[in-house]
Symmetry: C2
Subunit: 193 residues, 2 copies
DNA sequence: GTCTATAGATCGATAGAC
DNA sequence: GTCTATCGATCTATAGAC
């Protein structure tokens, strides 16, 4: 059934964009239904509750992360390429539509979120930290990165900086995340590559 | 009139806490009125609209920042003390109640916010960046900080990292911001002081 | 300055026809 | 799978008594 899958995917894509641009409490089923030319109730058919829909969005992002990093997590690879890919990805997404990552979108309302949504956010953050920690560990072993201290701390610092930078960019413009990304490169000793 | 000022201040304090814990779209006039033992309409008497109330919250934070940094901005001082004070302040606020700074609270919904609220957020971010840039500039001149590149870039990196860390801490627990703060110190060469 | 009462809108969600 | 219709709740904001 092409129609079913197609509509469900469109709903998911729309919810993804709305969640990351307006936050969990900043979009409604109406906002999703109207541009798709369907009704409120049709969205509820595919995703019974707003919590279900939001969890699905977070899980789709988590799956995207796994698709892009599973090989690296299992077999290793060039840490500098992984890092640079993530920086460029963050800058491009931020500049394109000012969207933050789902974690940043959910964190602001976190204590007011349905518990399943909180749990999904936790899973995504755990995955991001695990992956970034491996990138930092391998990068230093490979002689690509220069930093002091525990790779797990450096990983959280980098993730926090990018998350915060995407939010700063909403207020200051796209130059903010570019400046932060370039400073992160300088700190790691990979600027001007 | 003690009563008037007192209630207005209580409303402001309550709104501050609610904004930073639940986001702009995550709290209502009811949430403010009930714990204070007053009614919805009484809040509207002091702050006509939710935008007015939110702008007042942001401006009060901006005033607090000025009170703490005006002397430093005018006459200089010990950059390491300014930096350490800000790190400790951020950690303590984050651990106490999981609140993010107003910028982080407003950034998630930013494109859905009333324009005056967006403008107030911009003013606060500009002030923070200006101050932190001065801290970084003086810190390097004083030989306290070690970093590559433009102090304005380092300043935005640090602010972004702390803002992101406060949000990560909601998901991962208070250890996240402590780890990020310690990594920021290591990067600057002021760890273990 | 605070109240009661309510307007007016929107929200998430459900029931049932098609 | 999408529709119409609607429920019940909640929200921002206002009017007017006290």
């Amino acid at each position: 059934m092409i129609a079913r899958t197609d509509t469900k995917d469109r709903i998911l894509a729309s919810a993804d964009r709305l969640l990351r641009s307006h936050g969990f409490n900043g979009f409604s089923y109406q906002d999703i239904a109207r541009p798709l030319g369907i009704r409120n109730a049709a969205v509820h058919y595919h995703f019974a509750t707003k919590a279900d829909l939001t969890v699905a969005v977070v899980e789709s992002v988590r799956k995207l992360l796994h698709d892009r990093t599973d090989h690296f997590m299992a077999h290793g690879g060039d840490a500098r390429l992984q890092m640079e890919g993530f920086l460029v990805f963050s800058i491009r997404e931020c500049a394109a539509d000012g969207c933050v990552c789902p974690v940043g979108a959910l964190a602001a309302d976190f204590f007011a979120l349905p518990e399943p949504v909180q749990a999904a956010a936790r899973r995504l953050v755990d995955d991001l930290v695990t992956w970034m920690t491996r990138v930092c560990t391998l990068g230093r072993e490979q002689g690509s990165f220069r930093f002091q201290g525990d790779p797990a701390d450096k990983a959280r610092e980098i993730l926090a900086a990018l998350q915060g930078a995407r939010q700063l960019s909403r207020v200051l413009g796209p130059s903010a995340i570019e400046a932060v990304a370039e400073q992160l490169r300088r700190d790691l000793g990979i600027a001007g590559v």
